[in-house]
Structures are given as structure tokens and as C-alpha cells.
């Protein structure tokens, strides 16, 4: 939870440092929207009305998420009655509205005065509690905040060296990889600062394990396939890195040192084909074709 909260807090801080930074909708806002949509779908199903008149685009995905949400509520909170489950979702929808609304107030106040206070940090902890709704259809039961987490986040943000994150030209927060994100069923990176793509890790150990390394290569591959949303085409990613927040340490790799361009083209083709098999055939969809 502190890790996701710190991702929010650091991005807020980076936005403060780089007023022209391009920000995407928060994942927590996606959660609020999802709750709104699943309640809308449920209402129609309860009234035995077809869904075809709904205005939003991706109805079938929302229905899938509603079903998954209902299953998880039953499994995790042993609520079996359907009406009780919906009541649970409605309660959390209201809670999410308040969390987002307060977070926006605290965020914009911070962008004005640059003061990181407990209210802002509490907001990041609450936003992080909403994220699993969007990412996993999972609703948390408790919105209690532990004072130690506030202190922890305060320490983490105090450790940040602003020079790591001041952009000369390009600063993208939580960017996606255009159409390539779809290829793997969705993906978003933490940050792009000029020619650097950076992931944030709030971990106890300072280590570069295979998963972290693969994640960087994976992001780079998606960038090469689809570009990065909001990034001008002339801006090239030349460095990949991880910011280890508990160490205040930014580890960067030069792309040329870890990726052999001659082999990479062939690898790109393999990656696209393998991703198509995994994400599109498994959903009984026709795989997307290459242009």
C-alpha cells in the first residue's frame, strides 16, 4: 500500500517540479468510474432491461468486471445476498467520490503552495486503496490509515533528490504505450523524464532482480511497438531506470548497453506474435494484425 501511495505522491511532486508535465487520469479515478458503470449496468439488469442503450463504449468489459466484483465480495467478505453486495458497492462508490474529491483539493493546493502535509499524504494512501478496484475489481473493506504509513511516506518524499526528476523538455506521468498497451492487455509506465523511462520501486531490498529487469525491457519493447502517449516522436527513450525510493537511488541503464539493436528487430516480431497468442486467442478474439 505504501508503494502505490508513494507512486502517487512522487508523481504529485514531479508535477510540482515540472508544471508542464502531462498527467493521465489517476487509476483511482478509473476505479470511481468503474463503480459508477457497474452500478448502472446492475440497475438495468435488475430491471430486466437490455444494455444496448447504455452510452458508454465497452459494455461487455464492465459487465465482466461487475460479475468479478460480485464474486470477490462473496469470497472475501462472505456476503451472499445479491442486494447486500450491491449495497456494499454503493457504499464504496460514495466513499470513492469523497476520496477523489478530497484528493483533488489537496493535490491542487499542493501544486499551488508546494507544501506536503499529512492531508496530502492521507489522500495518497486512500487513492492507493481505490486502485485495486480498477486493476482487479477488488474493493477494500477498510479505509483506515495507519499513522506509521504517513510517517513512512513523509520520510520517503523527503529523500527525493529533485534533480533526478526535473525535465528539460518532456515529463510524462503514468503514460501508456498507445496501441501497444492493448497488445499485452494493458500496460502503463510510472514516468518518462526526457530520454529516461523510470519505474518506481518502494522495496526493502536494493536489488535488480529478473522481474524488474524484464519489466524495463518490456516497457521498452512496448515503446518501440506503439510509442508513448503524449511523447513527441522525435523524443527517443535512451535510458531505462528504476528509482529505489527507500535508498533515494536512481539506477539507470543506457539502452545501447543492454539491448542489441540488430537482434531487437527479430525480438520485436516474436514479442508481438507471442502477445497476440496470449491475449487475443485466449479471449477467443481474432488476433490484431500488423500494419
Amino acid at each position: 500500500m505504501v508503494g502505490t501511495s508513494f507512486d502517487y505522491l512522487l508523481r504529485f511532486y514531479i508535477k510540482y517540479l515540472n508544471t508542464k508535465a502531462i498527467t493521465k487520469q489517476w487509476v483511482a479515478e478509473g476505479s470511481l468510474k468503474l463503480l459508477e458503470l457497474v452500478l448502472e449496468v446492475n440497475e438495468l439488469l435488475e430491471k430486466r432491461k437490455p444494455l444496448k442503450n447504455l452510452t458508454f463504449v465497452n459494455k461487455e468489459l464492465v459487465v465482466e468486471k461487475l460479475f468479478k466484483m460480485l464474486k470477490l465480495i462473496e469470497k472475501r467478505y462472505t456476503i451472499k445476498n445479491h442486494k447486500q453486495k450491491i449495497k456494499f458497492i454503493k457504499k464504496h462508490y460514495q466513499k470513492a467520490i469523497n476520496i477523489i474529491s478530497n484528493a483533488k483539493k489537496n493535490y491542487f493546493l499542493f501544486l499551488k503552495n508546494g507544501q506536503i502535509n499529512d492531508n496530502l499524504i492521507k489522500s495518497t494512501l486512500l487513492l492507493a486503496k481505490l486502485d485495486p478496484i480498477y486493476r482487479a475489481s477488488h474493493i477494500t473493506k477498510s479505509y483506515n490509515i495507519d499513522g506509521k504509513d504517513i510517517e513512512d511516506l513523509n520520510n520517503l518524499i523527503s529523500l527525493v533528490n529533485p534533480d533526478f526528476f526535473k525535465a528539460n523538455e518532456i515529463c510524462l506521468l503514468n503514460p501508456i504505450f498507445n496501441r501497444a498497451s492493448i497488445l499485452v492487455g494493458g500496460a502503463d509506465a510510472d514516468l518518462v523524464i526526457d530520454d529516461k523511462l523510470i519505474d518506481i520501486k518502494t522495496t526493502k531490498k536494493l536489488q535488480m532482480n529478473r522481474n524488474y529487469f524484464n519489466q524495463l525491457i518490456g516497457y521498452y519493447t512496448l515503446y518501440r511497438i506503439g510509442g508513448i502517449d503524449g511523447m513527441p516522436p522525435q523524443n527517443e527513450i535512451k535510458k531505462l531506470g528504476i528509482y529505489f525510493s527507500r535508498y533515494g537511488y536512481l539506477h539507470l541503464y543506457k539502452v545501447e548497453d543492454i539491448i542489441n539493436e540488430n537482434r531487437f528487430i527479430k525480438f520485436l516480431e516474436w514479442f508481438k506474435e507471442r502477445a497476440r497468442q496470449e491475449f487475443w486467442k485466449s479471449k477467443k478474439l481474432e488476433p490484431p494484425s500488423s500494419k
Binding site: V2, L45, R48, P50, K52, V57, N58, K59, E60, L61, V63, F67, K71, R135, A136, K148, E151, D152, N155, L159, I176, R179, A180, I182, L183, V184, G185, G186, A187, L206, M208, R210, N211, F213, N214, Q215, I217, G218, I225, G226, S245, R246, Y247, Y249, H251, Y253, I258, I259, R263, F267, W270, K272, R274, A275, F279, K283, L285, P288, S289, S290
Partner: protein
């Protein structure tokens, strides 16, 4: 560049108590911003991990530093399955 517009037929599972039989399946274009985040699940596939290991040797990581901000909360992390 990859063309990813696609459609998905939705047929609801039987668990939903109010589902109306006879409602035609939906055919809607999928959009990237509606999809779950799942690069991680892809990278965790055995053959994908092997391919990455084969193609990209991980450089030595010899950095030794003192932790400056140790976690204050010792409780276990609660995980959630996103897939």
C-alpha cells in the same frame, strides 16, 4: 504498428440472478483505456521469461547502499490478484 481494434461477444455467466435470457450478446469495440493492466502477467509466462533471459543477460548489479528509509510498518503486505 499494431492494429488492435477488435470485438468481443459477451455471454454472461449463470451466476447473475437478474440476467434476462434472450438479451442479444453485445458486440463492442474494445478500447485500451478500459483494459486491465497485465504486462506483468505476460512477462511471468514461463516461455516469455526464458526468452527474455536468453535475449537479455542481466548486467551485474553490485550497488551496495545503506537503506535510508526503512519501512516503519512491519505488517504483511496484502496482495490481490489482478488477473
Amino acid at each position: 504498428m499494431v492494429e488492435c481494434s477488435n470485438t468481443l461477444e459477451f455471454r454472461p455467466p449463470p451466476l447473475y440472478p437478474f440476467y434476462v435470457a434472450g438479451v442479444p450478446p453485445l458486440k463492442i469495440i474494445k478500447r485500451d483505456d478500459d483494459l486491465i493492466m497485465s504486462l506483468t502477467s505476460f512477462l511471468n509466462k514461463k516461455d516469455v521469461r526464458e526468452k527474455f533471459r536468453e535475449e537479455y543477460p542481466k548486467p551485474r548489479f553490485d550497488i551496495k547502499k545503506e537503506i535510508l528509509c526503512p519501512p516503519l510498518n512491519s505488517r504483511l503486505r496484502i496482495g490481490w490478484n489482478i488477473f
